[in-house]
Every structure is written in structure tokens, then in C-alpha cells.
Point group: C3
Chain length 127, copies 3
């Protein structure tokens, strides 16, 4: 179980970095809370953070399901794909939002395989 | 355990559909990232997705707690109420945001019962 | 296990209160969905809710990891710090967003200790 727990923790550490970068960009741009718009660079960092939450909501439970019902090493591998895809996404988005596609696609693909695979694995186990 | 895992996975699949619909609405409306406003139809889809995250944050851990400490079949039934309520919510919101109340109420009610029931179940077990 | 489950449920109850306060502030201010801006007081409540999601994404899995691999009583104690920090954060933010620092710092500190501690605990167990 530890393998997949470590992958989950690394994905959360990556998210924590995005959160800190968004906070730093807010400070540098002088965007006062509660506003979340007003500076293009801050908005990009903020959207990287928010979109990562949007994906983590699928990722964490699906990683656990897939690891339990299908295969823990494969789940861990797909988790690494998720983490790498998110890094690509964040890097591209901050440079030019139009280039965020490949990183998004990689994380989304990992999520879909984990979720659908985990669902099928649980259904097969129940029958 | 599989019953409630399958219900959780179906709720995540429903959320994935909302995520794809929001992405499609962004493309059709031509709202360029990082903006999340500027087109009413896209904004509705985006808020359906975001509000679903706001509820999933309660739903997934509460479903697990209730299933473990109270009753797995009842947890699964409340999970189905959540999924149906979310579908009603999404359908109504995209048509007319003012009509989102019933679907929201249904998912929120399921969440409150799962959360408070799970909390009481865990407290009773500890004592 | 019940101790840490109860702490997690209390954090989710606190979040549910923030969610209800944001909904109430939306109604009072007359901000019609799908808008999430337009009234300073509503925007503050909305950001309290959203920022709490941003932190719960780290908190819930990290609490479980730390409790399982390191120490359940310490995890529960850090969970109480999280809950108290969030209450301070919400109270300060609604009064004056510039004063949200200490509450944010407390919850973020609890999260970092839970996440890094849980990661180290899992890595040590695997080796």
C-alpha cells in the first residue's frame, strides 16, 4: 500500500507548490483579497491551482480504487503520469495558456484510466 | 465495500461529464484561459462543475464514514440520491440558474445525512 | 481510528457552515448565479469557502496518512489546529481580508506537518 500512498503524497506536494506559487504571484501583482482577477500572471497561477483541484478530486479516490481492485504498481505508474502531466500543464499555462493542452491531456488520461479501471475492478469483484 | 465504492465512482463519472461539458462550453463560447467569465452559458457550466466540487468534498469522505460506521446499503442509497440530485441541479442550472434549488437541496440533504450520521456512528463506536 | 475520523468529520462540518454562510451572503447581497462577484461581503464569504476547499484537499488525505503511519493522537491534535486555524481565518477574512494571515498560517502549517510527516512515515514503512 505504501507505494501508492507515496505517489498520492507527492501529487499533494506538487499541488502545495502550485498553491504557494499562486500566493506569491498574488503578492507580487498586488491583487488584494478577495479579488482573484486583475493581473494576467496571477490569474494563470490561480487557474493552475484551481484546475489541479478539479483533477485531484478525481485522482485521489480513483488511485485508491485502482490500486485496491486492479493493480497497485500500475496505479502508481499512472500516478506518476498524473504528476508529470500536471508539471507540464503548470509550466505551459504560466508561459502561454493556449499551450496547456498536452499536460492537461496527460493528467486527464491518467484520471480516466484510474477511474474507469477502478470502477470495472470493483464491479467484477462484487459479481 | 464494493457497493459504496461503485456509487462513489459513478458520482466521479458524473462529475467528469460536468467537467467535459464545461470545457466544451468554453471552446464554443471562445472564452480564452485564464478567464472564467464572459459568456453566460459557459459560466453556468463552469459553476455546475465548481459547485459539484464544493459538494464532493463533503460527499466522498462522508459516504465512506457512513458506510463503515452506520450502514453500507443506506450509504449507497443516499449516494444515489446525491447523483440524481446533481443531475437535476446541472440540468436546471444550465437552463435557468434560478431553478437550481431542488437539485441542490437533494444533494445537500444527502450530504448532511451522510456527514452527521457518519459522525454520530464514529462517536458511538468510540464510546 | 475513530478519533481521527471524528476530527475529519468536524472539519467537514465547519466547512459546511462556511458553505451555508456563503449561500446566505449571496442571498442577502442579491448576487444572482452564475456570478460570484459583485458584492464585497459575499465575495469574502465565497473566498473563505473556496480557500477552505483548497486546504481540505491536502488536509483529509494527509490526516489519514499521518494517523496511519506516524501517530493517530498527534494527527488528531494537528487536525484540531487545522479546525481552529480555519475558524480564525474565516472570522478575520470576513472582517478584513488583510487580517487573514494568522489563521491561514495555522491551517497551512498543520497541513504541511501532516503531509510531510505522512510521506516520511510511509517511506520509512516501505524501506
Amino acid at each position: 500500500m505504501e507505494l501508492v500512498v507515496i505517489v498520492a503524497a507527492l501529487a499533494l506536494l506538487e499541488y502545495t507548490v502550485f498553491l504557494l506559487l499562486a500566493g506569491q504571484a498574488r503578492g507580487r501583482a498586488g491583487v488584494a483579497a478577495p479579488a482573484t482577477v486583475g493581473d494576467p500572471r496571477y490569474e494563470r497561477h490561480f487557474r493552475v491551482q484551481m484546475n489541479t483541484i478539479e483533477q485531484l478530486v478525481i485522482f485521489l479516490p480513483s488511485l485508491a480504487m485502482f490500486a485496491y481492485y486492479v493493480s497497485e504498481p500500475v496505479a502508481a505508474g499512472l500516478g506518476v503520469v498524473f504528476i508529470v502531466g500536471r508539471a507540464m500543464y503548470a509550466r505551459a499555462y504560466v508561459t502561454d495558456p493556449a499551450r496547456r493542452g498536452p499536460g492537461f491531456g496527460l493528467t486527464f488520461l491518467a484520471n480516466v484510466v484510474l477511474l474507469v479501471g477502478g470502477l470495472i475492478g470493483a464491479a467484477v469483484r462484487m459479481l
